[in-house]
């Protein structure tokens, strides 16, 4: 990096005002947007603005003069210049009025202007971005949802089964209208799956904590279990415990990307033994006289 005083063409003793004036002169000459076709201007402008950033800050300038920092300490954040966008064909600010007087009927130039005007008049519409919260079960099972759009209309969004938060659905032609015969843009709908009261999801599997009574835990039996597609009966084995996890095959989320026959994930049911909320004299009497219950120490593994 060159010496910033040299870049701005000022003396070491230059006043802040001199520095400002000198920078302004260079910026006028080299600002990339005032030099649309000159690639070198960008380098020169960056050099001048870095030098100016350094020397216009009295504190930085003093530290530079004392040799504490070098000229590279003044890099500007990357700026994208307007000229990089102005060349795009459907550019909104295009102005062709500056040479309309060149165009006469039937010549090459008039034809090119006509073609440009046509391309602009029929520019495709931009894509519009939306966010759609989807209920947990709708995301698992799929369905159709309505999305209210700012202009007052609604969009019908088909939710494929198994969709996840962050996935984006593209609705062709549902974006902003194009100009003239230009195609409309697309609507891009980002999905946000809402949490469920008792289901959670890991990949294609559904997790559920299922409370069971003490009698069901001890004796086993059939209990109803909610699944995303409705309740099913599940066999709880004898002596089931809190933490015992039972697998309901194929009751999870449809595997996506697998095509036909890819099947579903599973529902994993974790049991949780619940005592009745009110004390029960009969149960108390039983527990008091139950020897095996007293000799079993569930905290054995916590002892060191």
């Amino acid at each position: 990096m060159r010496d910033p005083y040299e870049i701005l063409g000022v003396e070491k003793s230059a006043s802040p005002d001199d520095i400002r004036k000198s920078y302004r002169k260079l910026a006028k000459k080299f600002h990339p947007d005032l030099n649309p076709g000159n690639k070198k201007a960008e380098e020169q402008f960056k050099e001048a603005s870095s030098a100016y950033d350094l020397l216009s800050d009295p504190d930085k300038r003093a530290r530079f003069d004392r040799g504490e920092i070098d000229a590279t300490g003044a890099e500007r954040p990357q700026q994208r210049f307007y000229r990089d966008f102005a060349a795009e064909p459907d550019h909104a600010y295009t102005d062709a009025s500056g040479f309309e007087d060149f165009a006469t009927e039937n010549d090459l130039f008039a034809e090119i202007l006509r073609r440009q005007a046509q391309a602009r008049a029929n520019a495709p519409g931009p894509d519009l971005h939306y966010r759609l919260p989807v209920a947990f079960l709708d995301a698992v099972n799929g369905g159709t949802m309505r999305l209210n759009v700012p202009d007052g209309g609604t969009l019908e969004v088909k939710i494929p089964a198994g969709i996840e938060t962050g996935q984006v659905l593209r609705l062709r032609g549902k974006g902003a209208p194009g100009r003239g015969s230009g195609k409309p843009g697309d609507a891009l709908v980002e999905i946000e799956v809402m949490p469920h009261r008792f289901f959670t999801r890991t990949g294609d599997d559904i997790h559920l904590e299922l409370p069971i009574s003490l009698s069901e835990a001890v004796l086993g039996g059939e209990v109803p279990v909610p699944t995303p597609t409705g309740p099913v009966m599940m066999r709880v084995p004898k002596n089931a415990n809190t933490g015992t996890t039972l697998r309901l095959k194929g009751k999870g989320v449809r595997r996506h990307g697998g095509g036909q026959g890819a099947g579903h994930g599973d529902e994993l049911v974790r049991l949780k033994v619940m005592l009745p909320p009110a004390p029960d004299p009969e149960l108390e009497k039983f527990a008091a006289g139950w020897q095996a219950g007293k000799s079993y120490d569930p905290r054995r593994e916590m002892q060191s």
Partner: protein, 95 residues
Amino acid sequence: MTITRQEFLMRANLDEGTLEAWVAEEWLIPTGTATEPAFSDADVARAALIRDLRHDLDVNDPGIGVILSLIDQVHGLRRTLADVLRDMHERGGRD
């Protein structure tokens, strides 16, 4: 890729009042509706240009309008010139 008003204010480092004034001057022309304006990356770069003109080059407001209009015409000319050259090239190639 469209940018919402809120995101645009952040990325272009502008306050509400300034944005309104610039839109009123037609220095910036957002697409979308009046209540839900949509901006583009080109608008962010154009806002940076306007800021450079005001702060670094000390151009006053009427001057900015003149400069933007001339810059837009230069880009129009550049594009047309590029099209003319391409067209001539294609015609030349057919002979």
